[in-house]
Amino acid sequence: MQLAINIAVLTAIYALIACGYVLIYRVSRVLNLAHGELMMLSAYLLITTASLFSKTPFIALGAAIFLSLCVGVLVYLFLMRRMTGEMVLAAVLTTVALGVLLRGLVVLIWSAQQQNPAQALGWVNHSLPVFGGRISAAGAALIATTALVYVGLFLFLRFSRYGIRMRAAGQNPLLAAQRGISLHVIYALAWGLSTLTGALAGILISLDSGLDSTMVLIGLKAFPAALVGGLDSLVGALLGSLIIAAAEVLMIYYVDALLSDVVPFLVLILMLVFRPWGLFGTREELDRV
């Protein structure tokens, strides 16, 4: 049972991160390779807001999430906007550069030491008993948040006008522009939403297990999850996360804990060999993978 709970929590982590990759890829065909770093930045922002609003943890939490949303939109406005309607490769390389930059900045500003935002907020990460196993409070929050985010995203993309416009712009940016849709607004929205979900992931993970610069690795491990599902599908991201998480947890339990960082990429390589467009991806995207 404990195994199932571990898998569920890890799935939630990967899925929450992976939907950020999917959102941006789906709308602009750009792989945001700085997603892990942006996620980590959000967690560090929480450290700062926690020291500013030490009496009121929820305000600190809200402020950190709001700041992360702003960071996402600003990244688009000042960096990625120039790439709108241009070559995709240039944009992808820009995100790589952004990632390296952020990693350096985070160490410069907050130092490379292990931090504990839960402590800073004055919260204790209780361990709760469920179905004969145990789950940490932050882990439970992770599962709930991921479920909410996915339902929210699904409703937004399916029924709201801007959601429909996002899907339209993802399919054919030129036609979308000719139908009066401002690509800048749509892309900024995608970046905002993507960093927002990334921030939720980063903050909850840091509340669960502390924070240092190795968090980037978790972001990187969620990338195979997005890819296994097919980069342009949210359902795929969910299922991909489940596959990667299950493989990882089972490997750790039955074989060796040292394998944990390797397994996701092993699955990724197998996937790329046998079904490069992913489980739910569009097949014609093949040349872009």
């Binding site: 429909i164 339209a168 399919q171 054919n172 030129l174 522009a177 139908r179 009066g180």
Partner: protein
């Protein structure tokens, strides 16, 4: 009266190297249907694309000349701003969002400022009642004719004053083309929308147009009202297929072609 759209000596260069149209001038007055005729590569589509705006991805620029719409200069503005001004393009290919349903295709466009969106969407369905039956269908699964209807309808939802239609007849059965052409006339008559129609099929275009321009190699070689163009010898011969007797190849070099050069 000032024309609604005035294109002056327009030059478009692709990839900073290839001049695709060189010095095209044309006008469209309010409530007119204007046809742009010409063979492959004559520069018809480029002219429409220049009016409706390029993306960075197109790697194309208007290098000379001007495009005036009402009181605005349009050259090198981004497409979504041009659409907001009231010029909407129905492109030749990729004219609908294939993974969106018919209704979603109609709710994605942004209407011009001050337009009553609900009324526009209802109007789209009154002009193309067949789309109402296909509401939930994925656009990628529509037939060519239905797709063209959806493309026209979603362009109407933008609330245009000037509709640019690229190749209405491409790949469609003659009956369907006839029907769509009548629909264009209706749109003009009932909504007062000006239409600029690019066509290879000169018979269809000249049957509904008020005036026309003939392009060749990126230049306007002939213009005039539809009746005059229809009776013009060269048009008859090259575009309407109404050549008199067959000629031998020996005479080919003796084409007399009256040309008018602009710019």
């Amino acid at each position: 009266m000032n024309p609604l759209l005035r294109v002056e000596k327009l030059e478009v260069v692709y990839g900073r190297a290839i001049t695709s149209i060189q010095g095209i001038s044309l006008e469209a007055h309010k409530g007119e249907i204007v046809a742009l005729l010409g063979t492959n590569g004559a520069g018809k589509s480029t002219t429409l694309r220049a009016i409706s705006g390029f993306l960075g991805l197109d790697d194309a620029r208007v290098t000379e000349g001007a495009i005036h719409f009402k009181d605005n200069s349009l050259a090198n503005r981004p497409p979504y701003l041009i659409t907001k001004l009231g010029i909407v393009l129905v492109p030749e290919r990729d004219k609908v969002f294939p993974n969106l349903s018919v209704v979603e295709n109609l709710s994605a466009p942004v209407a011009t400022a001050g337009a009553n969106r609900k009324r526009l969407e209802e109007m789209a369905f009154t002009f193309f009642p067949k789309l109402a039956e296909l509401r939930g269908r994925t656009a990628g699964l529509l037939s060519g004719g239905e797709r063209q209807m959806l493309a026209l309808a979603s362009a109407l939802v933008c609330g245009p004053e000037l509709l640019l239609v690229d190749e209405l007849s491409l790949g469609l059965a003659p009956v369907v083309v006839e029907d769509l052409a009548q629909r264009l006339v209706e749109i003009r008559d009932k909504l007062g929308i000006t239409i600029l129609l690019v066509e290879q099929n000169a018979t269809v275009a000249l049957s509904i147009a008020d005036r026309g321009y003939v392009l060749e190699n990126g230049r306007v070689v002939l213009d005039g009202d539809a009746a005059r163009l229809k009776s013009h010898g060269d048009i008859q011969e090259f575009y309407l297929g109404g050549a008199g007797e067959r000629r031998s190849y020996r005479d080919v070099k003796q084409y007399r072609r009256s040309r008018r050069w602009y710019g």
